[in-house]
Structures are given as structure tokens and as C-alpha cells.
Symmetry: C2
Subunit: 331 residues, 2 copies
């Protein structure tokens, strides 16, 4: 490890991805690229939690299919989600019989899973690993905030949890987007206590990981075609750019936040999208297609961002610790 | 990966450990070996959750001290716990400034963290990794079952969540117990729905991982001085031995379960101890000392066991999916 960054010299590759997303999500830029756009966010299930689980299982299964693999060829599934005890991931894993590593990193789960998957494949421990995560607006609302039935007003700084899931197959064989490095984030807490203002809470963690990455690697923002954060939303993205600017690093030319761009009419969703599914859907559909099929961008620094609070920690007066793991993706 | 097992040829070592445990726990076999036996399970904090977090942070810090390292020398902290959104781990990580990987594997967190730590050190990604977890009886009761104030009767098949935390420093330098292989578990669910009978739910997952391990490695139970499961308790351990016996594998001569042995008077705690802290405390105090200082045992197969349910999954009628990750420890 040089600083907080590790390098994957064997260039493990994302050889296939799959995504599923709800009706509101597929109205936006990802709509053309998701494998399964849902008409109904219940996905023929009885509860939101079961719908979330089904989306995640769908994405995992479809990504393995898209890689033309039998599921017996997958050595490891690395997954987590936002629900208590990551039940979406654990229950989805139950149906595959693949060795399972549960991870929790809130909305930075996608990049933590990419970093770990690449670590396992690059070292030769595994030939093929699946990394997946997802979220559901309605299960997240009732777990983290209020039951939807209460009809609570959402404040203007809030974000909308993405209903969707994304999965990627990382392998030592085949064609795809290589994962060439990972910078592990540390927990950063600037003292934000407003649970409706996740963007402000997470921006310092994203800034910390991006600055660490540039310092460790000697690279600069212009070395990347795209610097992709997870779900800071409009406000959080502005704070991130300001924090970076203060340290003399200007990312404004090539920064895009998945949360800021996922919804068509941003005004309705206030600051944009959030949730583990946000960057999972945007990266594994729109961005992966842009790198692979369309060949429009070559090198991406992907830093999903997570807020590590729980309702208990907030109720006991704690502020919101956040984290961001960054991975380098190259075509 | 051969089958579900990976090998660590560079023999990353557990060079130091540290543990802390509550008054009930330190009355038993671990009492002489924990770094900090608590007189009061509140640990001078206002809430059970904050006491749990403080124990975990104590164990992490003390293990780094016991390894004679500065915390800046630790490349990565891998931790998780039983509370929603693993807040004990995330908030403990906040105070160290070490890159943090959050994991969730219920009560098999200790062996998942060992497997991942060894993976990172063996591959040369990191020189030194800290793996840690813990639990607290009172925070677990009110999150998973009932508030203590209700005074609910505990059924005879129940287990007692261990109040305690354990941490280990895994390094490519120094003397210690080597982690030489890991068998990643898959999610196994035999349809148990009784949330008070975790031992019965988890035993099939432990059996699956142990059988997979013996098959992958060609080893047999007698190749180990000790086969150490996490927190099956008395009933779960009996079920495990039966399930193994049915497959022609007899582990009765050298199997010990951390949950079965942690408490002095097992009748009071019914089936014994459970919780992520159970195997974390027993391994990192009593067993580590037995391997290192006393030199009484050389080769241990450590398979912590986890039940991946949440209150939501149980309330929605789901059975209890379980998992067990196994690691080989050699002196």
C-alpha cells in the first residue's frame, strides 16, 4: 500500500454488468441502459423489502448471464445494502450458493465491493467475483425516516433514495473495464447532524479520499476523463468542489455525481438521488456503456460515498460519520 | 481458489490481540486473559450502544499498542458488528483515521475479518491490518428482541449475547499465529424460524463450511488440535456434531464452541454465549494465549458462525439464513 492506495497490476476486469431500476429512475439518463426497467416498484412482491431483495438478486443473476457464465463459475459474491443487517444481500446470496462476503459501507458499498473484488481477483485468490448492491426508496424511507403513510414533507436539502440495483462481474479473463487501483477511505466526520442533508455530511469524506488518491498516485483531475462520485446530490457536489478548490485541486471540469444526474427533473427530487443503488445503477448501466460500447471515456475515478449513521446514533445525538472508497477504472 | 478455499503462502501473522469483556463474561474461562475486565457493562457511558462502541475502540487501540505499533503504521481496519448499520465499527473507526472496510457477517464477523485481513496482507496490499468486532448483551436485546425493561422470559433454547470486544493485528512481519488458509462460507438456510434458537439455525452453515473445508484441503478433523466454532451454544454444537457425523466426519474429539464454553455457569445462560463478541473475545484472549504463550495447541480451524436475519425479515415471515467463514490458524 502506498499511502492508502493499492494497485492491481494484473488488471482484473469488469466483464459484464446488469442493472434494474424503478419507474422514476428509468425516466432519466439510465433508462435506455438498464437491463430491466420496472413499471412498478413493488416488482410483484408483497413488501418493499422483498422488492429490494428481488431487484438485487435479479441484477446478480443477470450480470452472471451477461458474462456468459454459469453461476458455479463464480467464486465469490461481495454485496451489502442499506437495510438493517444487510438482509437484501444475505437473502439474495441465499439463492445462489456462491461463497458470500457481506460488506457494509452505506452508499459507498459499490466502490468498496469493487475494491475488494479486484483485490481478490488480482491476487489470484479468485477467478471471478460478483460485486453488487442496491436500494429501494420505500424501504429506506420507513427504516431511516418516516413511514410513507405519514406523508411527511421533505426538506429542500433532502435526496431521494434510488430504487434499483446494480451488479458487476469481475474476472481475470475476458474483455472489459479494468480496475487498476483502489484508494480506501477513512471515516470523516465534519459534525453534520442533519439527517436530511447527506450531501453536506458526505462531501468531506469524498474530498478526503480524492485528495488522498491524487497525493498517493501523483495524478491530477485532468488525468481522468471522469471523476464520478456516488450520491452527493447537487448541494453535496458543490460542497465537494469547494473543499477541493480550497486545497488547490479543481475537479469542476470533469466531475459528475451519480445522484445529481440520475433523475430527469431534479426539482422534484430536491438535491437528486442517493442510496447504495444510486451509483450502482448509474455506473453499471450508463457509465459502463459509455466506457465499453460507446468508447467515449477511457479512465474514470469512481468514488462512491456513504453516510455511516443509523437511526439509533442520530437519536443519541451523534453526528454523521462518512466514508468514500475510490477505484480507478480503465478501458 | 480451490473449491471455496484460498491459501496464504506468505503466512500473514496475528502478531497481537486485545480483548475487553463484561463482568458476567470475565467470571468464566476468559477472565484471566482479557486485557480489560469491566466491573460495569456501561463502561462509563450513557447508553449501551455507546458502551459497545467504546469496548470496540478500546480493543482496537489496545491491540495496536500490544503490537508495539503506532496507529499510523496500520494500513487498514476491517470491522463490523451487530448493530444496525454497524455503527459500533464505523464510529470506532472514526477516531483512528485508519482506512476502514466495513463488513457485516453477524456473529461470523471475526472470521470474515481474519480471512479478509490475511487476504490483504498475503497479497502485499497492506503490511498491517487490524481485524476487530464486538457485541453487547443489552444493545442486542433491545435491537433484536425486547427492551430489557419489559422483563421478558427467555426460552430455554436461547443464548446470551456476549458483552465484549476483540481485536487482532495481522502483519507480514513479527512473530505470531499464522493465518494459512480461509474457506469462505455460503449462505445456508434449513428453514429455522425461531429467533430464539440461533444455534439450530447456524449449525447447518457451520457444517457446510467445515465439510467444504475438509473436502477442499483433503484434511480431516484429526489434522487440527482444535476445531473452534463461534457461537452455536450447547444445542447448536450437538446439532453440528450430528450433521457432520451423518456425513461421515467425526469432530467430537476436538470440537469446542466459543459460546458453549464462555460462561461459567451454563445453566443461567441456557445454551451459552452468542454475538459477534463471543468468538472475538474467546479467540483473541483464551485461545490466542493457549497457542502463543502457553504453546498448548498448534493448529486451529476457526469457524465463527452468523445468523443473517433482521427483525424485519423475521416479521415478514422469513426463515433465518446463516453463514460461517472458516480460517486456519497455525503456530
Amino acid at each position: 500500500m502506498q499511502g492508502h492506495t493499492i494497485y492491481f497490476d494484473n488488471r482484473p476486469k469488469i466483464i459484464a454488468t446488469a442493472t434494474v431500476a424503478g419507474p422514476k429512475e428509468t425516466e432519466g439518463i439510465v433508462g435506455k441502459y438498464v437491463d430491466l426497467p420496472l413499471n412498478n416498484d413493488m416488482f410483484n412482491e408483497e413488501t418493499y423489502e422483498k422488492a429490494e431483495r428481488k431487484m438485487l438478486a435479479y441484477a446478480i443473476e443477470k450480470s452472471i448471464q451477461n458474462a456468459n457464465l454459469a453461476k458455479e463459475k463464480v467464486d465469490l459474491l461481495i454485496s451489502g445494502d442499506l437495510l438493517n443487517q444487510i438482509i437484501s444481500a444475505s437473502f439474495a446470496a441465499r439463492q445462489f450458493g456462491i461463497p458470500f462476503l457481506g460488506v457494509y459501507s452505506a452508499c459507498s458499498t459499490m466502490s468498496e465491493a469493487f475494491a475488494l473484488s479486484a483485490s481478490m481477483v488480482n491476487a489470484g485468490y479468485a477467478d471471478t467475483v460478483v460485486a453488487a448492491t442496491g436500494s429501494h426508496f420505500s424501504s429506506a424511507e420507513r427504516q431511516y425516516r418516516y413511514p410513507l403513510e405519514l406523508g411527511c414533507t421533505r426538506p429542500p436539502q433532502s435526496q431521494w433514495t434510488v430504487t434499483g440495483a446494480g451488479s458487476a462481474v469481475i474476472s481475470n479473463k475476458g474483455e472489459g473495464v479494468s480496475i487498476t487501483a483502489a484508494t480506501f477511505g477513512k471515516v470523516v466526520d465534519f459534525g453534520v447532524t442533519d439527517v436530511n442533508n447527506m450531501g453536506a455530511a458526505m462531501a468531506p469524506a469524498a474530498a478526503d479520499s480524492l485528495l488522498t488518491h491524487f497525493k498517493d498516485t501523483g495524478l491530477a483531475p485532468e488525468d481522468y476523463d471522469l471523476i464520478l462520485t456516488g450520491d452527493l446530490g447537487a448541494l453535496g457536489s458543490r460542497i465537494l468542489k469547494d473543499l477541493m478548490w480550497e486545497k488547490g485541486v479543481d475537479i469542476s471540469a470533469n466531475h459528475v455525481d451519480c445522484g445529481e444526474v440520475i433523475y430527469k427533473v431534479i426539482e422534484d427530487e430536491f438535491q437528486g438521488g442517493s442510496g447504495a443503488g444510486c451509483s450502482a445503477v448509474v455506473f453499471n448501466s450508463y457509465i459502463y456503456d459509455k466506457m465499453m460500447r460507446r468508447g467515449e471515456i477511457k479512465k474514470v475515478l469512481f468514488a462512491a460515498t456513504g453516510a455511516l449513521l443509523s437511526t439509533t446514533s442520530s437519536q443519541q445525538g451523534d453526528s454523521i460519520p462518512c466514508i468514500s472508497h475510490a477505484v480507478v477504472l480503465e478501458r
